[in-house]
Amino acid sequence: MSSDVAHRRAGKPHTSMFLRMLMRAAVLRRGRAASALLAMVVAAAVATAMLNLYVDVQAKLRKEFRNYGANVVMVAKGDQVLPADTVDKVNVLLAGRGLAVPFAYVVARTSNGQSVVVSGTNFEQVRKLDSWWSVTSWPAKPQEALVGARAATVVSPSGAPFDLSFQGRTIHLNPVGVLRTGASEDSRIYLSSQDFEGWTGVKPSTIEIAASGSSEDVNALIRQLSQAVPAAEVHPIRQIMEGEARVLGKTRSTLAAAAALIIATAALCVLSTLIGWVFDRRRDFAIMKALGASEGLISGFFAAEAAALGAVGAIVGFGIGVGVAAWIGRVNFHAPVVPRFNVLPVVFVGSVAVALVSAVLPIFLLRRVQPAMILRGE
């Protein structure tokens, strides 16, 4: 019978024994293998979450920075107005990656002869572009005006309707809302563009653009815009762009430092667990050596085991890490962090490499020890 078994086994390829040892090692010492795998999974998850966050945080913060409003402004050259199709051209170039709001301005006179700046615009878009405007109520109907807080004290201190005249033409307006920004808007009166054009006949002279994307994207957009609309000057609002670049850069550097520290700690955790695991099995090592296994085979065995552990840990950990990153995104930015699959190879290679190092290091140390000494329990 036994010769039968030996015969049968001899016919099989040599690798099956290798695989069996791998499998049995994992099954028989479930507790320790599980704790090693757990360390691996947690480390890979933490690394994935941090890398994902690091890659995505720029996009998330850029969105927050767009609350500062326009970062590009387009002004008609000289005292002209912009060609009628400019807004459409700008919107085509923006292709949904931003918002463009036209403004038209005139200086009108109040009934007692004071000069006041009146602007015509699209309220719906302004509301999105300039989210910091503090407005008591937005105009919705024709002949309704949004009056700056300082302008209100001049034209209509009690909120009563008032008249404005421009080049002999008068408009009767109803102040429905008061606008407060702390800047020049406080001294202006805003009308819907229909009312404004019907009254003055003046077309927009300024387009404020909030373009999303990196500073290179914005600069490219500025070049395209100046080519498309030669009648206008297009320039970046440096105050907004430079502030954003600085804060973004610092945040990213801090996050990078944090990610490096956390990933190093996680790798350390894997290293100490796996070294302990392999050291713990020095008897297996000694028995294999005593039975005549070559050093290459033994190292290969432990390395294969570690690599398998690293691979499984990396894939499971990646899944968990993506979940953690998405959760952080939802809690902090109210939008989930998008899983970045280009992080996977990095995490995978890193995990396997750490696992290999932590398996091979103890083997290297044990190689000099006689198997008999280990088996005698010294």
Binding site: K60, W132, Q239, I262, N332
Partner: protein, 421 residues
């Protein structure tokens, strides 16, 4: 006997103790550095956010309406009321003066440029560049170089006590002047020391020391507007309330919080006949950006604490697991489970304290390094953090050891002594 056991354990098993100690030290170091960075990041980022420029503006109470389109003033510059320059240093006497990063007064006036043949009217903006002022015994410098950090000058910044001027970029191109040339303003020669680029209306203006603009206007001490850059606390429910509707106790709390509104209130108190207002574009968005970045760092710090707790636990578990034979021997000699556990916990405590102290020092250095390389400023470490970190180190080390100690104590001494671990 107990003390000797612990002592000998450390003396004879240096390698294992060092491994576990290193893990604790690194874990505590990372945790300290991350907590220090996370507690300080709000302050650091809010200083970075000051790069957006002033968040408060002070105007005369009796001011007339601005007639301004695209930053170009259409109002006759002689119109309107003024603030008094002599009142400005009083800002340093307000309750939150430490939070005021800087301020810059502006006074736009109109001047005639060039000789009579092709003379034209231009706006000359008088301001402080980096003016030295004194309030009481304290002297400080302030001006647009602090409040408007995006202003770039090719050449040199003018001295605040000189009559040198800066020329806006577009204006310089139009007039064909460059830094070092002379320009005639209202019949007087002035030296152009630099070309200014701001991306705003100033690109078409002449920017000069405040005294020069006052001289042109003929009103010494006049200031049209004052821009103030202050570090503020994001608005909360209290900040949004009207101070007039508060009871005295609530008002005190509001007054003593660096909200943008309470700083505006104090500026109004400091400068007579003035009206201070927050620049909402800057002031309102600051809060959201700041809270997002702070929230992110808190979550990342939690991840760091989790990772270091795990690393410490893993190292402790491995260290104890390796010593099953020793446990078997002790138990065979009659030691109770409790005394074995006590020995291990005592060793863990010692390791945690040593690792905690070294790790705290290392983490503090790391935090300083991060602060210096990223923010060019120190990250201050609260001394109160030390006992907290030490307590966390001990708790985590105990928690990490507990499972392994339980298993070691339960282990049958017979197996251990036969070497069947």
């Amino acid at each position: 006997m107990f003390g000797r056991l612990v002592y000998e354990s450390f003396r004879r098993q240096k390698r294992r103790k060092i491994l576990a100690g290193v893990a604790i030290t690194l874990g505590v170091g990372v945790a300290t550095a991350m907590i220090a960075v996370a507690t300080d990041i709000g302050d650091k980022i809010s200083r970075e956010l000051r790069n957006y420029g002033a968040n408060l503006v002070v105007t005369p109470q009796e001011d007339t309406l601005d007639v301004q389109i695209g930053g170009v003033d259409l109002k006759p510059p002689s119109d309107g009321a003024y603030l008094n320059e002599a009142d400005l240093p009083k800002i340093r006497g307000t309750f939150w003066h430490h939070n005021i990063v800087g301020f810059a007064p502006v006074l736009p006036v109109s001047v005639r440029v060039g000789d009579n043949a092709d003379a034209k009217d231009l706006t000359l903006l008088g301001t402080y560049f980096s003016k030295s002022l004194t309030f009481g015994k304290e002297s400080f410098a302030t001006g647009v170089r602090i409040t408007h950090p995006w202003w770039k000058v090719q050449g040199a910044w003018p001295d605040d006590n000189s009559s040198d001027v800066l020329l806006g970029e577009s204006l310089a191109a139009k007039l064909g002047r460059k830094a070092g040339d002379e320009i005639e303003l209202d019949g007087r020669q002035h030296r152009i020391v630099g070309i200014l680029s701001t991306g705003g209306a100033e690109d078409n203006e002449v920017v000069a020391p405040l005294a020069l603009a006052q001289q042109v206007l003929g009103k010494p001490g006049a200031v049209r507007r004052l821009y103030v850059s202050a570090l503020t606390k994001p608005e909360d429910a209290l900040a949004r309330r009207d101070p007039k509707s508060m009871n005295p106790e609530m008002f005190d709390r509001w007054y003593c919080s660096p909200y943008v509104a309470s700083i505006a209130y104090q500026l109004q108190e400091a400068i007579p006949h003035s009206h201070a207002e927050q620049i909402r574009q800057i002031a309102q968005n600051e809060g959201t950006v700041l809270s997002r970045i702070k929230g992110l760092m808190v979550l990342v710090t939690l991840a760091a604490l989790f990772a270091s707790a795990l690393a410490v636990s893993a190292a402790m578990a491995t260290a104890i697991f390796e010593r099953r034979n020793e446990v078997g021997l002790m138990k065979a000699l009659g030691a109770s489970g409790i005394s074995v556990a006590a020995l291990f916990f005592a060793e863990a405590l010692l390791l945690a304290l040593i690792g905690g102290i070294v790790g705290f020092a290392g983490g503090a250095l790391l935090a300083r390094q991060i602060g210096r390389s990223i923010f060019d400023s120190q990250i201050t470490i609260e001394p109160v953090l030390f006992p907290v970190i030490l307590a966390i180190a001990v708790i985590v080390t105990f928690a990490g050891s507990a499972m392994a100690i339980r298993r070691a104590v339960k282990f049958d001494p017979v197996y251990a002594l036969r070497g069947e671990g």
